[in-house]
Symmetry: C2
Subunit: 354 residues, 2 copies
DNA sequence: CCTTAGCACTCAGGCATATCGAGTGCTAAA
DNA sequence: TTTAGCACTCGATATGCCTGAGTGCTAAGG
C-alpha cells in the first residue's frame, strides 16, 4: 500500500501547516501552499483517500483535515526533514551547559529546565537508576570535638557528605578507628547487603561508640537508595498552557497532575527502553500510560559514564514540531554525554573542540 | 467607625460561605446560614452598608456579595477563628518531616512540596540568603593518583563536596600541602574577599600544581554563591487549576509563569520581612508584585540555625481558606525550625515530645 | 484513467433575541 | 429598627438564524 509521491507531499503539507497553525487545513489552502500544480478538487480526492487509509482525520464533516497519529508517524519516519540548529541556538545551549560545573543531579535538573525553555514544552530529565551500586569508600573528618563530616563515595564516583553533630565528645583516634572499620566492613556491598546484622557486628567491634557506625551506614544507604531510585526532574509544566489544545482547563489539569507525579512518570519513561542511541518519538496512543494517550513524547538518552544512562525529553500535544524538538533534544543529550564524559580540567586549559 | 456585632457576623458569614462555594452570596442564603434571627431584608440593609464601607463587593447589580480585600483583611484580623489541626493532620506532617534526614536544600524543597499537597495551593520555600558567609574549612581526600575530593565547609555548617579528576598524577604529601595552603589563605573570607590576586599569590606559593588552588577555590566560591543567593523551591503550581478563579487559562498562565520565575518570586518574598515570628498574610493588592495583585500569599518563617531564617508559604486566589492554610503553614514552619535546631541523634535515641 | 470545474450539502461559530430567576433597592407598615 | 412586598436589573441560558469554509459527488475535458 504505497502512497503516491503526490499524496506524500500532501500529507507532509497537511502536517506542517497544522503544526504551525493548529487549524484544520483544507484543500484550497493546500493547493496554494504545497508546490503542487493541481487543483483543489484533485487534492480533495487525495485527501479523501488519505483519510480513508487513516493518515488524516476530520473533526467534522465540513472542516479541513488534521493528521492522525498514524499520519504523524509516517511524517516522522519518512517525510520529516532533519532540522539543523542555527549557530545561535547551539551557542545558547553550549553556554547554558558549561555555565557551571555542578553536582550531577543539579546538572540534570538544569538540563530539563533548559530544554523546556528551548522548546516551549514541559520537559523532564532523569538518570536511569538500574545499576546496583556499592559504596567505594568512607571518610570521616573531625570538625570539632562534638561533630564530624562523613564523606561517602559510590563506585559510580558520586560523592555525598553529611555533617553529624553528636551529643558527646569524640577524638581523632576514635574517628580513625571508625573510618577503618567502616571501610573494611561495608565497602563493596550493595544496598541489600547492608543488613542489620552486619551493622550490629561492626558496631560491636567498635565498642561503645554511641551507635555511630549505624548512623554513618544509614546515611550511606540513603545515598545508594536515592541514586538507584533516582528522581525525575520536571520543568516548565506551565508551558502546556501555551498550546491551544490545552485551552480546556480540565485537560490541562489532568496532564499537569500526571506530570507532577514523579513516580508514574519515571515508570512510563523507563519502559520505552531507548535501544538506539538516537532520539525516540512516541506519538499519542503509542504511549503506554493512559494519561499520555493523546500527547506525544520525544526522548533522547545520554551517557553519564560508567555505563549509566539518563533520559531527557519533552511532552506536548501530538501537534508538535517534531523536527525542531528532536534536533534540540539530541543536541542537548550529546552535550550532556560530553559533559559527564570529560574529566575536570583546571580553568584555562584549552578544551577540545570538534 | 465600628461595625455592629451583627454586621461582623454577617461579614464573617459572607467570607466563609464564599470561601467554601466560590459563589457570590445573597441575603436569603445568609438569613438561613448565619445564626441570625433577622429577615433577609434586614440583612440586605446591612449588606448595603458593608458594601458602601468597602468590605464587600458586588460583581454586578443583581448578584450576591463577595468579600473585597478589605473585607478579607478584617476577617483575617478579627473574625477568623484559629484553626486547630486534627491529630491525623499533625501526624501526617510529622511523618513527612521526619521521614528522611536529608541535605538542607532537599529538606526545604520537600517541605514546599508537602505544604502544597497539604493545602492544594502552589507553595514555595526558600532560605533567606542575606548573611555574608565565609569558608570555615577545606579538606582534600585523595581517591586515586589522578583524582581527589574537595570538601568545603561554610561557617553556617553547610558542607559540600566535589570530585575532581586530574589530567596528571598527584601524591598524598602534595595534597597535604595544598590543604594547609587553602586553610591558611582562604578560611574566614567572604565571597568578594576571594579575589583573583589572593588566588594568584596562593597559587604561586603552591608551586606548579596545575592551578589546583584556583580550581578548589572556584568550587568554594560557587558554594558560597549558591548559598547566599539561595534558590526558591516551588511546588504544586498545577494546583492553581483546581480553583475556579483560574478557569480562565490566560490568568492561570500569567500566574504560573510568574511562579516559575525564581528570581522575581524570591525578591517579592524577601520584601515583606517577617517581623513577628508568626505567619503573615498578604491579601490581593497588599502584595507588592503586580502579578500577585489579585492573589493572596500566606507566609511563615522558620529558623535554620546560626541566626539564618527561611520562608515557606503558599499562593492562591484571595478566596483562600486563610484559617486552615495559616494553621498548617505555621505547624510546618515550627517543625522545620525544630528539625534544623536539633543535633543529629543516633537512631533509637528517644526524642523529646512536647 | 486522471484531472478539473461546478454545485448542492453540511455544520461549527457568531449574533441577535427571548426567557428566567436570583438578588437587589426602595417604600410603607409594624 | 425591623419586616413584608414589589418592581427592577442583569447575567446566564436557550433558541433560532445566518454565514462561510469546506466537503463529496458528478459530469465534462485532457
Amino acid at each position: 500500500m504505497q502512497l503516491t509521491e503526490r499524496k506524500k507531499k500532501i500529507l507532509r503539507a497537511v502536517v506542517e501547516s497544522y503544526i504551525e497553525t493548529a487549524e484544520p487545513v483544507g484543500s484550497k489552502a493546500l493547493a496554494a501552499l504545497a508546490g503542487l500544480k493541481v487543483s483543489s478538487a484533485t487534492i480533495r480526492n487525495d485527501l479523501a483517500d488519505l483519510t480513508e487509509q487513516g493518515y488524516l482525520e476530520q473533526p467534522h464533516t465540513s472542516a479541513g483535515r488534521v493528521p492522525s497519529p498514524k499520519g504523524y508517524r509516517l511524517y516522522v519516519n519518512e517525510l520529516m526533514e532533519e532540522q539543523r540548529l542555527s549557530l545561535e541556538e547551539t551557542k545558547q545551549i553550549n553556554d547554558a551547559l558549561h555555565l557551571k560545573m555542578q553536582e550531577l543531579d543539579k546538572v540534570i535538573g538544569q538540563a530539563g529546565r533548559m530544554v523546556s525553555q528551548l522548546t516551549n514544552y514541559p520537559a523532564f530529565a532523569m538518570a536511569e537508576g538500574v545499576r546496583r551500586l556499592t559504596i567505594k569508600r568512607f571518610d570521616l573528618i573531625l570538625v570539632d570535638s562534638a561533630s564530624f563530616i562523613a564523606v561517602v563515595m559510590t563506585d559510580s564516583s558520586v560523592v555525598k557528605n553529611k555533617l553529624f553533630r553528636l551529643p558527646a565528645e569524640l577524638s581523632e583516634p576514635q574517628l580513625q578507628l571508625l573510618t577503618t572499620l567502616l571501610n573494611t566492613a561495608f565497602v563493596g556491598k550493595t544496598l541489600d547487603q547492608l543488613t542489620p546484622e552486619l551493622m550490629r557486628v561492626a558496631e560491636h567491634a567498635a565498642g561503645g561508640s554511641y551507635g555511630l557506625i549505624s548512623l554513618v551506614v544509614s546515611f550511606a544507604m540513603e545515598v545508594l537508595d536515592s541514586l538507584e531510585n533516582s528522581a525525575v526532574y520536571t520543568a516548565g509544566a506551565s508551558h502546556i498552557l501555551d498550546h491551544p489544545e490545552y485551552q480546556d482547563v480540565g485537560k490541562a489539569q489532568k496532564l499537569m497532575s500526571y506530570l507532577s507525579e514523579d513516580r508514574s512518570l519515571a515508570q512510563a519513561l523507563a519502559l520505552p527502553a531507548l535501544d538506539g542511541d538516537d532520539t525516540k518519538i512516541l506519538i499519542g496512543p503509542e504511549n503506554v500510560a493512559d494519561e499520555l494517550k493523546d500527547t506525544s513524547v520525544v526522548l533522547a538518552s545520554y551517557d553519564i559514564g560508567d555505563g549509566m544512562k539518563g533520559v531527557i525529553g519533552v511532552v506536548g500535544p501530538t501537534r508538535m514540531d517534531y523536527a525542531k524538538v528532536a534536533a534540540k533534544l539530541s543536541y542537548v543529550a550529546d552535550g550532556l554525554s560530553k559533559l559527564f564524559g570529560q574529566p575536570e580540567l583546571p580553568p584555562g586549559t584549552p578544551e577540545k573542540e570538534e
